[in-house]
């Protein structure tokens, strides 16, 4: 199956928040409340999986999970509770999640949110309505279906990229000449075309094109070698020094060197064995 994605055209968004409303009703996320751990009620939260960010000059940018092609959250999760599906969405399995929140730390966009108020908390983020689309209940995610201006559309990622490039080509004066999400951190399934720079969506204006999981894999890849090398090295050093000490002792006193455990422990052990024998 081809990877599905979402294309949001910032120039077409009127900021009506119909997508937010649809998302909330489709996913039954509940009421947004001004909790301490949230900077703004209308920012992304465990109850608000997509939101509209207003930028100066009447620009409305829909913020949501980017569903990266090589997601940092997926590679960060120690149990695989975050999962990139072949259809595109990055989904979450709450039954095996430990709640370590490493996914939240790893995401370059800071998207995953936590149910901080619950004694049994889970991670919450946009899942592109995957369960409902797979079961046939919905033809497309709630948000794209609700958009009155067609600013955000659902489709095959390749087709969306084509549409995006065509739009930029036809109105080169309007758009920033770049499809946001085409290459960023290895590419994302959620794409944007825009008349303003969208660097503010991530932790840094320029996130680079390299997928973040690669950075970690450089080290994790070497774990088996480290096990072998450190183990071998340690035993080697032990063996060499032990042998040298034994030879030295033989040369000087003609008495074989004491074995590894020359300490009081062993004397005591010997004493114990003796008493036992008695």
């Amino acid at each position: 199956m081809k990877q599905m994605g979402i294309l949001t055209d910032v120039t077409l968004c009127i900021g009506c928040e119909e997508c937010v409303k649809a998302c909330k009703s489709v996913n039954e996320t509940g009421e947004d409340l001004p909790w301490r751990w949230q900077r703004r009620v209308d920012d992304l939260s465990a109850t608000r999986w997509t939101t509209i960010v207003t930028r100066p000059g009447r620009h409305y940018v829909r913020k949501q999970c980017r569903h990266c092609l090589d997601p940092a959250c997926v590679s960060a999760c120690p149990v695989g509770a975050m999962h990139k599906t072949p259809e595109g969405p990055v989904v979450y399995n709450s039954t095996i999640c430990l709640g370590c929140r490493y996914c939240m730390m790893a995401c370059p966009y800071g998207v995953p949110r936590y149910l901080w108020s619950e004694p049994v908390p889970y991670v919450r983020k946009c899942i592109m309505c995957r369960d409902k689309i797979m079961s046939g209940e919905l033809k497309q995610p709630g948000c794209t279906g609700a958009c009155p201006t067609g600013a955000t559309i659902y489709g095959n990622r390749d087709d969306l990229l084509e549409i995006a490039h065509k739009r930029i080509e036809t109105k080169p004066d309007l758009y920033v000449p770049r499809v946001f999400g085409e290459h960023e951190v290895g590419g994302t399934s959620v794409l944007y075309v825009s008349d303003i720079d969208l660097g503010f969506l991530g932790w840094k204006d320029d996130l680079g094109d390299k997928p973040l999981p690669h950075e970690t894999w450089i080290y994790l890849d070497k774990v088996p070698y480290i096990v072998g090398v450190v183990g071998g090295l340690m035993y080697g050093i032990y063996w060499i020094i032990e042998r040298r000490m034994r030879l030295q002792a033989e040369a000087t006193g003609g008495v074989s060197a004491p074995p590894l455990e020359t300490t009081s422990d062993d004397k005591m052990e010997d004493a114990n064995t003796e008493t036992e024998e008695k």
Partner: protein, 587 residues
């Protein structure tokens, strides 16, 4: 005497922490911590986990010195080092039980492997190394038990266990650095490096050495015991090389990435980094390089404590403070987080003292004398039965009182949150403002489009007319609605229509401002109604929404759309709209 006072204080902290623990588990992380979606990791990860693992590095460093490098003279400090490491890891696990949201799933990494995750590596290493340390330390307990086969088996396993422990520690100390490699955008460039795992490993070795010195000095002070000065100065010498090496690679890495200029940009991060590097590595390395210093107790104490504090600070910095500038949020741990951290460390220290007092952790002369077993064959029950000889428990009354005082104090402080759990913050509502507004009716729209009018900007644009309206923006967050009161009154039947929106139960009833009863944007307000009953006025947002949407939905065609009323967001609005900030300041 010293130890008695210290123990009393530690028991007090454990008491407070026990109460906080109850709130943490029954009310959730949001109640107990200051964590947020932007800073999901805090003190428990930075101090308990990162710091705890680093402080436990003494265990593998000393094991390598004695068993691999045959530096037999350090044998007397291997047991306390292994015990410290074991308790350090125990503290890490307890810290994690508090920190992770679903601690009953902590075992999951064993079952669901995800070898691309640095945290998976960390989890596996913690689990394995905790047990390796337990087995390394087990002979201390088994030498006091009459099961000699097990004791002998454990002794025979020493070398393989030590090597396995070194492998796990190498992986684990560095993988805590690997954990942060995936966050290049969160962490300040002074701390972020693609070779963080190497920094973490090298600093762990240095920290292991200095921690053994510190812990040796502290326990000899507490128990008024003689200090193994020549051993400690040997360790200090090694530490000075390791710490020096750490500083060199750290600076070399900054220079290689052309990031040295961050050091002198005068930001608080730069100062923090310089301070941290000075106390964690530079000063101790220099101090310990002088023979006179490392052979004096004062010199050892100053250098070692600085290094230990510095590296704990380093772990907190890199996992927390270094992310402040990127995320733009400041996080300061709640007192409950601090209480748990202190309580966990106190608990670990108490277990340490228990072992020191009841087992031969610090081996002394005359060791080989026969010991008393903790288990003796029960003379009544014969061969099968054993009787446990309980170790003496000095000052049990004092410690119980300290624990109880701590628990009571904790309970008093937690009474409110414990009972009610987390509560959303208040968002007081202010009254709607009467303003001059511009309005126009685009061809294909049913509703007028409104925009605040700023007289100083002068002319009314073509196709727009001036009107009077209410600017409804309860929480003053700019998601306002411009409401034409006059128009609504006229359209719904002039004077008779007041009661449709305002609560006027009698014909002579007066209207009131909405914000007088619906006082909070998101929370209900407790009020007394006309009959003298206590009732709840719904939140401002809910009151407004239900009132407007109900009517608008019944219209033909239904015009209940967010953008219909929240017109501040419509593209067709002229730039005058931005005069809003000016208007909002009007009385």
């Amino acid at each position: 005497m010293r130890i008695r006072v210290v123990k009393g204080i530690l028991w007090f902290f454990v008491g407070v922490a026990a109460m906080v623990a109850a709130v943490r588990f029954f009310r959730g992380l949001g109640t107990a911590t200051a964590l947020s979606d932007i800073t999901p990791w805090g003190l428990w990860i930075g101090f308990d986990v990162m710091g705890g693992v680093a402080l436990a590095a003494g265990g593998f460093v000393m094991a390598a010195c004695v068993y691999i490098f045959h530096l037999e003279k350090y044998h007397p400090i291997i047991r306390p080092a292994v015990l410290t490491a074991f308790l350090g890891y125990a503290a890490v696990i307890v810290g994690l039980v508090f920190d992770v949201g679903l601690p009953w799933n902590l075992w999951r990494p064993l079952y669901s492997w995800q070898h691309h995750s640095a945290l998976f590596e960390v989890a596996m290493c913690v689990m394995f190394y905790f047990h390796v340390l337990a087995l390394e330390f087990a002979p201390v307990i088994f030498e006091r038990l009459p099961f000699k086969r097990i004791y002998k088996l454990l002794k025979a396993l020493t070398l393989p266990l030590v090597i396995f422990g070194i492998i796990l520690s190498t992986l684990h100390q560095s993988s805590l650095g690997t954990l942060l490699v995936i966050m290049p955008f969160r962490i300040h460039p002074l701390w972020y490096s693609s070779i963080l795992p190497i920094f973490f490993f090298v600093s762990a070795v240095g920290l292991g050495l200095t921690m053994v010195i510190t812990e040796s000095l502290v326990s000899s002070w507490l128990y008024e015991r003689e200090i193994e000065k020549d051993l400690l100065s040997g360790l200090a010498k090694a530490a000075s090389y390791v710490l020096g090496f750490y500083v060199i690679i750290k600076l070399a890495e900054l220079a290689y990435n052309k990031e040295l200029h961050y050091l002198v940009d005068g930001s608080w991060e730069a100062n923090l980094f310089i301070f941290e590097t000075l106390i964690s590595a530079v000063v101790p390395a220099v101090l310990f390089s002088f023979k006179r210093v490392r052979e004096s107790i004062g010199g050892l104490a100053v250098g070692a404590i600085m290094a230990v504090a510095g590296f704990v600070l380093n772990r907190i910095d890199v996992s927390g403070l270094a992310t402040v500038s990127a995320t733009g949020t400041t996080y300061f741990p709640s007192w409950m987080e601090i209480a748990i951290s202190v309580g966990v460390v106190s608990g670990a220290a108490l277990v340490f003292f228990f072992f020191v007092e009841n087992f031969s952790v610090y081996e002394e002369d005359g060791e080989s004398e026969e010991k008393e077993y903790l288990l003796v064959k029960d003379p009544v029950r014969g061969i099968v039965g054993y009787r446990l000889l309980l170790p003496p428990m000095p000052n049990i009354r004092q410690n119980s009182v300290a624990l109880a005082i701590g628990a009571v104090l904790g309970a008093i402080l937690l009474f409110d949150v414990g009972l009610y759990g987390p509560r959303p913050e208040k968002t007081p509502v202010e009254r709607a403002l009467s303003i001059d507004a511009l309005r126009t009716k685009p061809e294909d729209e049913i509703l007028y489009v409104y925009s605040p009018y700023d007289p100083e900007k002068g002319d009314i644009p073509e196709g727009w007319e001036l009107t009077e309206a209410l600017l409804i923006d309860g929480d003053r967050k700019n998601k306002y609605v411009i409401f034409n009161h006059e128009e609504h009154k006229n359209l719904s039947g002039s004077e008779q229509s007041c009661r449709m929106c305002h609560h006027m139960d009698e014909p002579s009833g007066k209207t009131a401002f909405c914000h007088e009863c619906h006082r909070d944007m998101f929370l209900p307000t407790e009020i007394v109604d006309k009959a003298g009953q206590v009732v709840y006025a719904p939140p401002y947002r809910e009151a407004m929404h239900s009132l407007c949407i109900e009517c608008h939905e019944e219209m033909d065609p239904p015009i209940a759309r967010c953008g219909g009323c929240h017109q501040g967001v419509d593209v067709s609005v002229p730039p005058e709209r931005e005069a809003f900030a000016l208007i909002a300041e009007r009385p």
